[in-house]
Symmetry: C2
Subunit: 194 residues, 2 copies
C-alpha cells in the first residue's frame, strides 16, 4: 500500500509499526490527471507531497512570462514550495503534473500533528530541505560553468527516465536553453561529435 513512502522515510529515521500507522494515517492519497496545476503563483502551498506514481515539475514564470523549470520530480520524490508552506505565505512558483499522478499529500495541520507526536520526523524534513539546497547549489554552479551540452549530458545521467517521459521543451526550460537548441545538442550527440 504505502510501502514506498515508508521506505523513503526510513532512510532517515527508524519507525515503530505504530508510528508508521500514525504517519500514514495523516496522509491522503490523491490522484491527478496530467497537466493539473497543484499550486500557482500567489497561492499558499497547502501540501508537502510524496509522489507515489507519476511525474511533476516545479517552475517559475520570469519577468517576460517565460517558464523556467526549477525541478522535475518522479516516483519517490517529495514536492512542495516549502517556504510558502511553512510560513503560509503566497508562493511565486507553479507546480504541475506532467503525467497522471498519485501523490500522498500532507497538509499543514497534519504535518504539525506529525511533528509534535513523533519529533524525529523533524530530521526527515530537514534532510529534504538540505538535499534540495545542495541540489540547487550544484545546479547553479553547473548553469554558470558548463556548456549546454554538458548540462544536457549530466541531466540525462541524473534523470535517465525523464527524457522519455516529458516533452523536450520542458527539458530546455530546465537546462536554460531554447527548445531548438536542445534539438541541436541531441543531433550533435547522436553523431558522436559532441
Amino acid at each position: 500500500m504505502s510501502e514506498n513512502i515508508i521506505g523513503n522515510v526510513t532512510r532517515f529515521i527508524n519507525l515503530e509499526p505504530k508510528e508508521e500507522q500514525f504517519f500514514t494515517g495523516l496522509l491522503t492519497l490523491q490522484t491527478f490527471p496530467k497537466k493539473t496545476i497543484l499550486l500557482r503563483e500567489g497561492e499558499i502551498c497547502q501540501f508537502e507531497g510524496y509522489i507515489q506514481k507519476g511525474c511533476v515539475r516545479v517552475y517559475y514564470l520570469d519577468d517576460n512570462g517565460f517558464e523556467v523549470t526549477i525541478l522535475f520530480a518522479i516516483e519517490d520524490w517529495w514536492i512542495s514550495d516549502i517556504a510558502s508552506f511553512q510560513d503560509q505565505k503566497p508562493s511565486n512558483l507553479y507546480i504541475e503534473t506532467l503525467e497522471d499522478s498519485e501523490i500522498y499529500m500532507l497538509n499543514p495541520a497534519a504535518k504539525e500533528k506529525l511533528l509534535s507526536e513523533i519529533p524525529k520526523f523533524e530530521r526527515v524534513f530537514r534532510m529534504l530541505v538540505q538535499r534540495n539546497l545542495s541540489t540547487l547549489q550544484h545546479r547553479l554552479v553547473n548553469t554558470i560553468s558548463k556548456s549546454a551540452s554538458d548540462r544536457y549530458l549530466e541531466f540525462i545521467k541524473v534523470y535517465p527516465s525523464i527524457p522519455q517521459r516529458v516533452a523536450q521543451y520542458y527539458i530546455a526550460s530546465y537546462l536554460g536553453v531554447s527548445k531548438e537548441f536542445v534539438s541541436t545538442i541531441r543531433k550533435r550527440l547522436a553523431s558522436k561529435q559532441k
Copy 2:
C-alpha cells in the same frame, strides 16, 4: 556587545534575558584577517557563523578549477555549509574572508546544546535555510533567464555595498561571466546605453 546577533535572532523568535545570555554564552567571537579560508573542500564544516563585521564569500571550484561564487555575506548575515555541518560530512565548498572580519562562531556541540535547551531556536535555523533556498532559487532563475547586464543591475540593487568592497572579478564569478565582461557591462551602463 552582541546586540546585533540578538537583533538578528529576535526577528524570528522572542528571547527572555536569560535565554539571550545562554545563547551568547555558546558563541565565540573570532577575528580573521582578510583572505583567511574558513572552510575548504574536503573539510567538515564545524561552524555556523554570524558576521559581526567584515565580508565573506562562499565559492565552489568547478571541474576546470574555476571559482564560482555562491554567495557574498556581510554584516548581519550567517554563513556555513549547512549540509556539511549538519551531517558532519566533507564539504565541497570554500568559505573565505574578503576583509578583516569578526564572526560569532557556533560549533556543532554548542548548537546541539542550544536547541535542546531552547527548542524555539529550531525556527531560527529553519528560517535561515529556507531563506537560503529561496535566494538560490531566485538566483538560478535569474541566471537562466536574464542577461548579464540585468543580473549586474539586480546584483548592485541587492548588494549595494559589495561593489565598493570587493574586487570586480569576484562579482564576475558571482554573476557567471568573465571578469572582462563585467568591465564591459559597467562601461555600457556608465554611458547609459544599457
